[in-house]
C-alpha cells in the first residue's frame, strides 16, 4: 500500500502552504496556514479551499473530491515540515465543525505511526489534554516535537 501525497508549494517561512487536490470534481486549490495563537510558540493549523474564480478561501467548504486520504496526508506532511523549520513550536488543530474535527482525527490516526516517530500528539476532550489514542473522539489536537 502506498499512501500518496500531493506536491506542495511553501512560503519561505514554511508557515503557508498550497497544493492542488485532483479528483472527481476537478482541481481544487488547498491552502494551509500556521498562524500564531495567544500563547507564545503555539501555532494554529488553518486549512481550507481557495476558490480560483473569486479568490476567496473557505474553511467550511466540503469539496468531496474523492481524495480525502491524500489531502489529509499532505496536510499532516505540512505540519511535519513546519515543525522541522520551527522545532520550538507546537501546533494546535481545531475543526470548524464536528465533522471537520473528525476529519482531522482520521488524518492524524492514519499518519500516527509516522508522526509519533518525532512528535508527541495530544487530544483535547472534557477541558483537558490527553495523549492521543486512535478511536477516541477529541475536539482539538496538539502536536509538538518530542523532548
Amino acid at each position: 500500500m502506498n499512501i500518496e501525497r500531493y506536491n506542495i508549494k511553501a512560503s519561505t517561512s514554511l508557515m503557508e502552504f498550497e497544493f492542488v487536490s485532483v479528483g472527481k470534481k476537478g482541481e481544487i486549490k488547498k491552502v494551509v496556514q500556521y498562524s500564531p495563537t495567544g500563547i507564545p510558540n503555539i501555532y494554529n493549523l488553518g486549512f481550507g479551499d481557495l476558490d480560483l474564480e473569486t479568490g476567496e478561501i473557505s474553511d467550511t467548504a466540503i469539496s468531496d473530491n474523492g481524495d480525502s486520504q491524500k489531502v489529509l496526508s499532505t496536510v499532516s506532511g505540512t505540519a511535519i515540515k513546519f515543525m522541522e523549520k520551527h522545532p520550538h513550536c507546537q501546533v494546535i488543530a481545531v475543526g470548524t465543525s464536528k465533522s471537520r474535527t473528525r476529519l482531522y482525527q482520521i488524518g492524524i490516526s492514519n499518519n500516527l505511526n509516522e508522526i509519533t516517530q518525532f512528535f508527541d500528539v495530544f487530544g483535547h476532550t472534557n477541558e483537558e489534554w490527553q495523549v492521543f489514542k486512535r478511536g477516541k473522539n477529541y475536539d482539538a489536537f496538539l502536536i509538538r516535537k518530542k523532548k
Binding site: K9, S11, F17, G48
Partner: protein
C-alpha cells in the same frame, strides 16, 4: 534425487509514505501578513485559554 523446495518468507507489507516534495514559492510570502482562518484561530484560542497546554 529429491528436489528441495526453497521457500522464502513473504515480505510484510508496510505502508510506504511518499516523501513530501516542497517547493518554495515566494508568492506565498504575501499571505504571511494575513490570518486567513480566523474562526479556527478564535476557537483554538478559546481552547488554549480554558484548557492550557499539555504538561
Amino acid at each position: 534425487m529429491k528436489k528441495v523446495k526453497h521457500t522464502t518468507t513473504p515480505k510484510k507489507k508496510v505502508a510506504k509514505k511518499q516523501s513530501l516534495s516542497v517547493v518554495i514559492d515566494k508568492k506565498l510570502d504575501n499571505l504571511s501578513n494575513t490570518i486567513i482562518f480566523k474562526k479556527k484561530l478564535e476557537k483554538a484560542n478559546r481552547i488554549l485559554s480554558n484548557g492550557g497546554v499539555p504538561a
